[in-house]
């Protein structure tokens, strides 16, 4: 599914990723944890194709293709989805119109016919129910005036509608109260599928109580310094990142 090999990336002239390697197989859920400034968000942006990052070494293979050579919209249509840490407001554009445009862009890419407005509305209302979102949000402008939790829930709705092959969730748990966290986690769990992979980027272990990962990796200083099973997350919760960072520096 996803093979990241010795990836080096710079932002604003500063090296952020310094030889990151990671392999994600179909159906797996990976959690990437790490302290602030370790390169977690950079990794998600580089994978999604945001401008402003220079790739200075290594590469990323996605379903056998060179991911980094694709335009951001092509990556999206090929099934790479990024749930944003800070979802963006688009004033005046209704949520359902935006979702339909995105949904049909994917279908078109796959050579499938576009879904008409009526059928899409029924489809998206079902999805909204699944992620426990009030259907009135479909008529509101994209993320405009949404609370932090509503924005995150809206990301999960998009995830449910677009049904990507690879979902990257960038700190989707931050700023959520426990009820919102549970329903967001429920949305992610429903999407678990032998053909779909999920990468959870998170600072805290909290989310991992609800979305149990197959693997946990610790990112520090732009590299994965430790990998393990779900128990690694608990250890980090208890002991903090200090010991890993120290070990990382010692190794470097």
């Amino acid at each position: 599914m996803l093979k990241i090999k010795d990836l080096h990336a710079k932002a604003g002239g500063k090296a952020i990723l310094k030889g990151l390697s990671l392999e994600v197989k179909p159906g797996e859920v990976h959690a990437i944890m790490g302290p602030n400034g370790s390169g977690k968000s950079t990794l998600s942006y580089v994978l999604a194709g945001r401008e402003g990052y220079a790739i200075t070494g290594g590469g990323v293979e996605y379903q056998g293709k060179d991911l980094l050579a694709m335009e951001p919209e092509v990556r999206a249509r090929e099934g790479v989805f990024l749930a944003f840490q800070y979802p963006v407001e688009i004033p005046g554009v209704s949520n359902k119109y935006f979702l339909k445009a995105a949904f049909n862009a994917m279908r078109k890419h796959r050579g499938e016919p576009e879904m008409d407005a009526g059928a899409f509305l029924r489809f998206v209302k079902e999805k909204a129910k699944l992620v426990e979102m009030d259907p009135s949000f479909l008529n509101r402008s994209v993320n405009e005036g949404f609370s932090g939790g509503e924005k995150k829930r809206n990301e999960i709705l998009q995830l449910a509608v677009l049904e990507p092959t690879l979902a990257l969730l960038d700190e989707t748990d931050s700023g959520l109260d426990i009820d919102a966290l549970k329903s967001v986690a429920g949305g992610v769990n429903r999407l678990r599928d032998p053909k779909r992979s999920v990468v959870l980027i998170t600072h805290y272990q909290r989310l991992l109580d609800y979305v149990v990962p197959d693997f946990v990796h610790v990112l520090s200083g732009g590299r994965i310094v430790k990998s393990g099973g779900k128990e690694l997350a608990h250890q980090l919760e208890k002991e903090g990142y200090g010991w890993i960072e120290a070990a990382g520096k010692a190794a470097a």
Binding site: G49, F84, V88, I90, G92, V93, F98, A105, S141
Partner: protein, 479 residues
């Protein structure tokens, strides 16, 4: 960021730029009293019209072209312009079938079918080709409701009393340089009268097309809604692509009596010039509505995407008590287009109310100015105004300016003004692309969202057209 992508997107072609091969009947170029007389004679006008034109012409000679607008253009030589051009036709048309097939084909190509049976939506159209109206559809249906909707020339002959009473009653011939010029030489336009208590049974529309070379187009629209009457009116405009600039100086006058309502929508898509700023229409237009009676309402909605230069301030005189004026505007400038547009709301009656929503979008080297005046007279007790001016910038070569003026002469009035300027964010663009939308669709979506408040005011089918037009006009937008 994706600047280069957005830039590429801006270089789409103007799709109405074709020229039709129609034989013209023109007057010699240049302007003089003789030309004014000749135009009046060609139109076989009654003497009150000629007198009015001559008064305007003589007054015009004493006037200077205004220079206060934020627009730059080479000096216009008014003697190089042809002031009257009409497609040659041998006799008066009695039915659609007699319209020059070439002209019919032109309107077909523009998506304006003139055959009534082909028109699906409930819209009556007056088609103006160069200086004259070529056909008005649905006349019979309208006549049954008592509505007069015809070309201005026809109205001068068939309803001279109405013309004499209302012509210049809102925009006097002394009003301003371009309106005065128009008063002297205007050749046609639309006239509409809705009698007492009648709700016009369909949307009315005038479609303006400049075709001939080196001509100016000077048309005049006059709409009168009698007591309790109601009408929705739309104008559309296009022109061929030409290297040289062409002058368009129109006048629109609206009169709303007590409890009457006029909704006037414009989709202005004159040729904007090429991407280097060559050619395009100079659009110097005077539009004004008079809310003469109590509880009357006039609402202007405009989508301005065309013209090299737009100079236009659709305004409302709120004379009747509790009368209402509205102005909803989207102005988009791309490449080297310049727009100086806005409105004037003059509150005279008690408890009068006005709303101004202006959305300016600048792309490329475009320049966009909002210029507005809200004046509340001492007599306008309890008047209220709300103004909102938003600017959206695409790229870093364009400019947006806002010049609001407020003059309040009593203490019981409320005036609110809000303004914002934003850039299309890299964040927004990336967010939409991450959801599978290409740059072009993403920019279109953001811009259309920005304009939504105004598009909501347009009649439905035109809202759809406006949407598409924004996307086309944005092509090649950001640098």
């Amino acid at each position: 960021m994706a600047n280069q992508d957005v830039k590429d997107l801006a270089d789409r072609e103007y799709k109405y730029g074709f020229q039709s091969d129609v034989e013209d009947d023109q007057v010699p170029k240049g302007l003089s009293e003789d030309i004014v007389r000749l135009i009046s004679k060609k139109k076989n006008e009654p003497s009150f019209m000629l007198d009015w034109r001559l008064k305007a012409y003589r007054h015009w000679l004493t006037m200077k072209e205004p220079t206060w607008a934020e627009v730059r253009y080479p000096k216009i030589d008014y003697q190089e312009i042809i002031y009257y051009s009409a497609p040659k036709s041998k006799k008066k048309l009695s039915s659609m079938d007699e319209v020059d097939p070439e002209i019919r084909a032109t309107f077909e190509k523009l998506g304006i079918p003139l055959e009534e049976q082909k028109i699906l939506s409930n819209v009556a159209v007056d088609a103006v080709f160069d200086s004259v109206s070529v056909v008005t559809t649905f006349k019979k249906t309208l006549a049954e409701a008592g509505v007069i909707f015809c070309s201005f020339s026809e109205a001068v002959h068939e309803h001279p009393d109405l013309i004499e009473r209302y012509l210049g009653s809102v925009v006097p011939y002394t009003d301003n340089f371009f309106a005065t010029l128009n008063s002297a030489v205007f050749s046609d336009g639309s006239f509409c009268h809705i009698p007492k208590g009648v709700k016009c049974p369909m949307e009315l529309s005038t479609y303006f097309r400049i075709n001939a070379k080196n001509t100016g187009q000077f048309e005049r629209t006059l709409i009168v809604a009698d007591e309790g009457a109601c009408v929705s009116y739309l104008e559309g405009c296009t022109a061929p692509m030409r290297d040289e600039n062409q002058l368009h100086a129109a006048v629109v006058e609206l009169v709303a009596m007590g409890d009457a309502e006029i909704k006037y929508s414009t989709i202005q898509n004159w040729y904007p010039g090429d991407k280097n700023g060559k050619g395009g229409i100079y659009n110097f237009v005077t539009k004004r509505g008079k809310c003469a009676g109590d509880r009357s309402k006039i609402s202007w909605t405009q989508v301005e995407t065309g013209s090299a230069i737009t100079w236009k301030y659709p305004s409302c005189l709120l004379i009747g008590d509790e009368s209402v004026g509205e102005f909803h505007s989207v102005a988009l400038t791309n490449h080297y287009q310049q727009a100086d547009t806005g409105t004037k709301m003059i509150h005279i009656g008690r408890n009068t109310k006005s709303t101004i929503i202006s959305k300016g979008i600048s792309a490329g080297h475009g320049k966009n100015v909002y210029r507005g005046q809200v004046k509340i007279a001492r007599s306008a007790v309890g008047a209220r105004n709300y103004s909102q001016c938003d600017s959206l910038l695409l790229g870093d070569q364009c400019a947006a300016h806002t010049f609001p003026t407020l003059e309040v002469s009593n203490v019981s009035s409320t005036v609110e003004h809000e303004a914002s300027t934003s850039k299309i964010g890299e964040d927004q663009l990336f967010y939409l692309r991450q959801r599978g939308l290409c740059v072009e669709d993403a920019v279109g979506m953001i811009v259309n969202g920005f304009c939504k408040q105004v598009f909501n005011e347009l009649p439905l089918e035109f809202a759809v057209e406006a949407h598409k037009l924004m996307n086309i006009s944005l092509e090649g937008s950001v640098g």
